[in-house]
Amino acid sequence: MRLARLGSFHQCRLSFMRVLLRQLKNENWQFSRPRFDIDASGVGVAVYEMNGPSHTYSLICFAHHLPAELRSDRVIAEAWDATFALFDGVPSTGDIERLANNVPRQEAGRLSGREISLSRANRSVRLFDYTIECLADGRQPDPGRIDDVGYVMRTTAVYGSGKFGAADRETIADRPELNAPFQAEMLAVFLIRAFTLDIVEHLAQVRAPEKAVVLSPDLRRRFGVGNSTGLGLAPFIINHPVLLNNWIAARETALARVRSILQAAKAEIRLFHELVRRAQTNTANWRSEHPLQLTKLADLKGDLARLSAHLRNGALDKPFPWDQLYLWAEANLSLEGQEQLVSLVLEPHAGLIDSLAATMSANEGADFAIDGAMSIKRLRAILEDIYGWAFEIDWANPANIARVWYVSEEKLEPRLGERFEEPIEPFEQPLCPGRDAACLYQALDGWGSDNIVAAFLLRHPEHRHIVRRAQIANRYVYAEIRDNMLDAALLPIDLLRCKLAFFGATHFDPRSDRWVRINMFRGAPFPHEVCGADRASTQCIDDGLYLKPANS
């Protein structure tokens, strides 16, 4: 559980986006677009509807006119190209009117318990107008230019879980279709993607009614929906240790199951070879200008080439082939390559793995209460076991506590500051369990082994939070990340990438150490394809994320 590895995760079968796509197909969801009132300038309202076995969900889209100087990915932005709400059911005219007064204001508006998710998106200036131009001219955009960006619009926040008055997750989590993590948010993004391509085709049509064409289905799928993620997401996996544990445990269990296979079936070997080829294409299409990512990409390219060669030498023809392959990867590949390999070996084993998605939510309330009867001796042992690495760190050294996590009063935007350069220490959020555990361990000096945690906490309320964490981490082996979150060299993008990989994101493109652009659903079918009449022809519903080469 180290950030360097978590920050090298790739999407896999258990990613939430893929869980959603499989569910939409297997449960026979129906898709329709009951409203698309967008005018010639790209302003208006649209509604996208998904009907499941027991519930209907509607994405309500508001398209706006946004002057370029107001276009920003930041939480503190106040206007956007498009804003969205995922509605629980079919919205009435009154609902849409109410939402028209609130959704475009985003954090400044209010939602009701009928709304599940709130989001917004901005145009990719690089690709939005270019695509319209091509289509209006009766031709398809160049695949290379599409791949350079990968989306015509990108979301800059997708809120759920009761934010701004929306429905709490607890009120909908019992629904089978929403039980796996972030399914509502993934559904919203899936529908947003459809909207972004629809609006581009619409504007081309408006520009040149006689001449305009729509995107060819293959090219259309090469567009995902982008996303810009910053520090708002970073604390999540620190603040939800049980949930993080369950995600990692599912992935580790999946890997263990595959590694225990005695012999690889021919079909699986064929598929695996194909996927390695497609992973290489993926890597070739993966654009970034960030020096860190460029290094990782170079490593990954090299790793995949080594993997290819290793496979050509019959790597899968041995007993316990996947286990041997994994061990070979550990010894021969960079972290990027190792984690890419993990994702790849899971791919051919749907039957073994897909059911693990049901184990990835968490009842966080169940582990919240502190066990005050625990002895000081036991607590010390737990701290040594889980946080021993933190005891080795000199917490008085400024380089080790250079950073401070805080929340700005500006729209409550989470930020990461420099402890010794800005006056923000009084506002520090508790996001470094390692340091807190080291402080706790010191504070236990002088307390008798047989005394109890309850007595200690009555005297030392300042350690209550870390005691709770330590007891949780003791029960859940993957709950705690063993890294210093205040280090001068901390890369928050590692935190972001871990969570985003579980979402199913691809094409991580860090723009700084704390901000990343990604792509969601690139290569995937569209709602009308997953739920449409040609459903039967959509073969592997969710492996499109490994793009076929453009000419294949």
Partner: protein
């Protein structure tokens, strides 16, 4: 204004922190607010009043001596959040069937969520009572014999809790999924919560987050 329970929990946690509670207590206060709201019991009204009286003060005098009989503190009144947490840490005491008493407790209803945590841990129904008020608190349900006025007293001179032999079959599960917060209470809690936020400055805006101020790419 209608709020989700998540909003209530987050606001209460930050307000408690702003009122001087440690993060561990603040997060439990957030859960406590949520528990009360789930049963449509007064939450923000009492929390706003209590956090208001705790902010700017030393909390030690309000902290129980958990080995006294009844529990008391050095100051005039026990803080129900600190007392509830201390009781929750000592759930085993109630499993022994002996009553626990608290002298001079502020806003005794605020103890109820912590007692529910004990009830879950020891799998018993626990009766929490003070003059003219009695709550049977199970791990997953609640039954009340008290008027609104009696539930929302600002102070009780003696509060008792005791594990009961009752089955808990007449305890009703929580059913509220939203909470309405009076604007006066919202204002008090928001102001306390705002103490957790760093002031906006030009350099913080430029350096603290990631993306630029305009993103036209």
């Amino acid at each position: 204004m209608s709020h989700s329970l998540n909003e209530l929990e987050a606001l209460t946690k930050r307000a408690a922190r702003g009122a001087g509670y440690a993060w561990g207590h603040a997060e439990e206060a957030g859960k406590a607010a949520r528990w009360l709201a789930g049963y449509a019991l007064p939450s923000t009204e009492l929390l706003a009043a209590h956090l208001n009286q705790m902010q700017g003060r030393e909390h030690a005098p309000w902290t129980p001596h958990a080995t006294d009989v009844p529990w008391r503190c050095d100051g005039a009144m026990l803080c129900p959040l600190l007392t509830g947490a201390a009781l929750s840490d000592r759930a085993f005491l109630l499993a022994e069937d002996e009553p626990i008493e608290f002298a001079d407790t502020a806003f005794p209803l605020l103890l109820a969520p912590y007692i529910a945590a004990v009830a879950r841990r020891i799998d018993r129904v626990i009766v929490l009572s003070w003059v003219n008020a009695s709550l049977s608190i199970g791990g997953h349900g609640l039954s009340i014999a008290a008027s609104y006025g009696e539930l929302t007293v600002h102070h009780a001179s003696m509060v008792t809790c005791r594990a009961s032999r009752a089955s808990g079959n007449d305890c009703k599960a929580p059913s509220a999924t939203r909470v309405t917060i009076a604007s006066r209470d919202l204002s008090v809690l928001s102001q306390l919560a705002a103490r957790c936020y760093a002031p906006a400055t030009e350099s913080s805006r430029l350096l603290g987050a990631g993306a630029g101020l305009t993103d036209n790419d």
